[in-house]
Structure formats: structure tokens, C-alpha cells
Amino acid sequence: MKETKLLTRWVGKYEPLDLKGYEAHGGLAALKRALAMGPESIIEEIKRAGLVGRGGAGFPTGPKWAMVAGEKQGQKYLICNAEEGEIGTFKDKVLLDGDPWMVLEGILIAACAVGAEKTYIYINGEYDQTVELWESLVVEARKAGLLGDNILGSKISLDLQVVKSKGLYITGEEFALISSLEMRRAASRLKPPYPTEKGLFGRPTVVNNVETLANVPVILAEGVEAYRKLGVADEPGTRLFSLSGDVKKSGVYELEIGSGTLAEFINEFGRGTASGRPIKTVQPGGGTSRFLARDSLKCKLTAKDIRQAGSGIGTAGVIVYEEGKRAVDIVKELMEFYGFESCGRCAPCRIGVVRMKEIIDKVFQGEGTNEDLEQLRQIGKACVAVSTCGMGQAFPLPILSALELFPQDFEAAIEKVSE
């Protein structure tokens, strides 16, 4: 098993603000090709390449663009979502810092394809230096004629605004992000209408993850056939996996989709667990994905196989927990974060998150009862079933799966009181 460097091929190869260096490696070829091709053919290529969103939901990118491009009149917006607040995920930062021009190129091509004149990049508030870098990058891009009126001599005018997120996890959700730019509280909304129909200021809006947009220039430069050779038939290309938790070597690794199994990935790139004890459980898709037991780690690294194993690939943030950690502690740690992040838009999440946190704290302190665990299950299931946005539907999943996979841990935590 080895890394396939496609998106990260130029990361760190040139100074971040050096456009000439980027061009020397072959950059901007995709943008020039895209400007010559015209919007319809770009969307057609992306559709043929079978690119799906890398932000967690996994929505196909081509059809999403086609929906917005179909609206011919008036203002349209494009937002690059670099909020990346998910626990255990730090892949976008590698691209934003290491190869920013490629991300910018992706944004420009996407904006040309959908006909958006105003674009935003919404960067996580904790990435201070990244925001500074991008502000300088925009100035450089304006000088080079990549942003502003008539970019590279074409008829297209574009503007990019760098927005720094203001410290809420929920702004990673597309409607919450849109709300914040509209000067409202960051809160999700009922769907439909989707952002592609009524997004920012009521206009059609495309919201794409950084990694998704970084794929775009690669596809146009390398060609669809070459791109589809990588990965599996339903999921072509590569994916950036962030590996963290109890491993010897954490980091971001780019792998061909389906090139190996989860266990191989953890053992070869993470070099095994930190203390050498066996793996207890793994979250393959960031902090809100279900836990996988040790025996289900033989699944291949594709969204489909991980789903069949009982979890989801999500943002591809692999978090490893080693033997000797109690499930109660892991879940408590997760809820320390999610417990304060509900936006309050819908009741099941607003109330559920607080109640679940209370119960888990109670169990953690050894004061829980069997009824508490039953209540935890019920609230969790209700939350997953009726919440409006991804956060409410996802944060109970690790708790529910922990209750399923490691009932002995919870029972042990309860038994202490009854003695």
C-alpha cells in the first residue's frame, strides 16, 4: 500500500504566494483549458469523471453545478467551504497552505462553470495563518489578472472574498454558513429548497468542499480517462485521509480509493497503535461517524465498503482508539465538544444534545442506571430521525454504536453504584 499523490503532488513544491512557481509545475493549464471549453463542457467533464463531494455528504458535484448553471439570470454565488470543524479532520489545511493556487484554480473553474461572479472562501477561524495567506493570495491573484474583470482576457469577471469563520462548529453546515454570511445567527434550515435553488441572499449557490474543488483542475488537466483509471468504478480518484488518535504517526495521506483496507492503512501509515496495544475501535469518518469494531477493519477504503461495514466515510478523518480505553470515556470526550455546538434551530438536537451530555456525564461519574442507558438510546434515535441538519442526524451515531458494540463498558460503569 502506498500513497498516490494526485491532489498533493505539488504541495510544498513552491512558495505559497509564488504564482510563477505554480505555473512552472504546470499550473493554470486547466483554467486556460476550461475558459476555452465553456461552461457546459466543463460540467459535462466533471459529470463524466464521477466526482463526488468530499465534505461528508458525498453529493455528486457535476449534477450540483448543473442545477445552478441552469438558472440563467441574476446573481449566483459560489462558496468554498474550508470550515473543517469536524473532529479528527485536517486534510483541507494541507491543500490550503501547501498548494493554494490549485484550490484557487478550482474555485475559478467552478465559478466559470456555474456562472457565479461572486465567490467566497470560508476558512476555519482557528487557521489564522491560512487566512492571512489567502488574503495575500487574493491580492497577488488580482495583480496577475486571475481575479477581477475579464480574467485572463476572457469575458468572465470574478471576485473572491476571504471570510474567517467566527468560532462555531455548525457553520460547516452549508445553510448555517450561508446564514452567517447573510448576517443571521448560524442555523440550519429546512430542505428543500436546497442552496442550489435558494441559497445566499435567496440566489442559487454552490457550496463545495476544498478537496472537491481541488479535484477539478486535476480532472481537467489530466483528462477524465486518466482520472477514472484511479479508484474504483463508482468512486474514481483519490482521497485525503487524516489519521489521528492512538497511532504512532498521525498525518494526512492521499490514497487511491479502494487501494487497501482500513487495517492496512492504520498499520502501515500510522505504524500501529501508540502503546503497541491492539486497536479497540476506529471512527473512519470524523467524530460523528459510527465506531467500527476491530473485526470490521478489513473493509476496503471506499465509501461503499465502509458503509457496509457499519459506518460512513464522512470527511475521511480516521480516529484510532486503542485497547484499554473505555467506551464511556471516548463518548464523554466527544460530547464535551458536541454538547455545546447545537445551533438551536430544531428541538430534538437542541434538547437532545444537552440531555445526552447530562446522561453521559452521569454514567461517567459512575452514577448511571440501566434506565439512563435506555433513555440515551431513545433520545439518540429520535435525534437521528427528526433533526433538520447533518449535525443532529450525526452526533448521536457514535454514542448509539458504542452502546451496541461495547455494552460491557457501559454496564461496568453502572455496576459501580449498585455495589
Binding site: 472574498q161 471570510v163 467566527k166
Partner: protein, 72 residues
């Protein structure tokens, strides 16, 4: 961090290329970072220039962790 003064504030507006509905969130972020808070007169000024109500801006800002709104 600077104390609020009108010249720095005007320069900030110039930096973002004029205050509009579309960049108001970004602009207030810059105000917060420059002065350590968003003074109430700024809220009023942004409300006047963008057409958002003062209540909407105040309500939005106070819901974010990294914003502080100055006292009257």
C-alpha cells in the same frame, strides 16, 4: 489591538472596497480583530449602510463565540 478611532475604521472600509450587504460579515470580522470588539457605533453604522436592522446585526453577532459587542 487598537482602541477604536474613526480613521482606522474608515481605512478598514476602504480595505474591503466599500461596505455592502455581501461583505458585511467579513467586514465586522475585521473590525472585531482590529479593535477587540465591535463597538455599538459600528453596529449602527453598518446597519445604516447595509440596510440590515440594528437588531439583526446585534442578534447575529452575539450568537458567535468570537464576536464581542461593545457596551453602549
Amino acid at each position: 489591538m487598537k482602541t477604536f478611532n474613526i480613521q482606522t475604521y474608515k481605512n478598514l472600509i476602504k480595505e474591503v472596497g466599500g461596505l455592502t450587504v455581501e461583505n458585511s460579515f467579513l467586514f465586522l470580522g475585521k473590525v472585531q480583530e482590529t479593535f477587540g470588539c465591535v463597538p455599538r457605533e459600528v453596529v449602527r453604522d453598518v446597519a445604516m449602510k447595509t440596510g440590515f436592522s440594528e437588531a439583526r446585526i446585534y442578534g447575529a453577532l452575539t450568537s458567535y463565540r468570537d464576536f464581542k459587542v461593545g457596551r453602549e
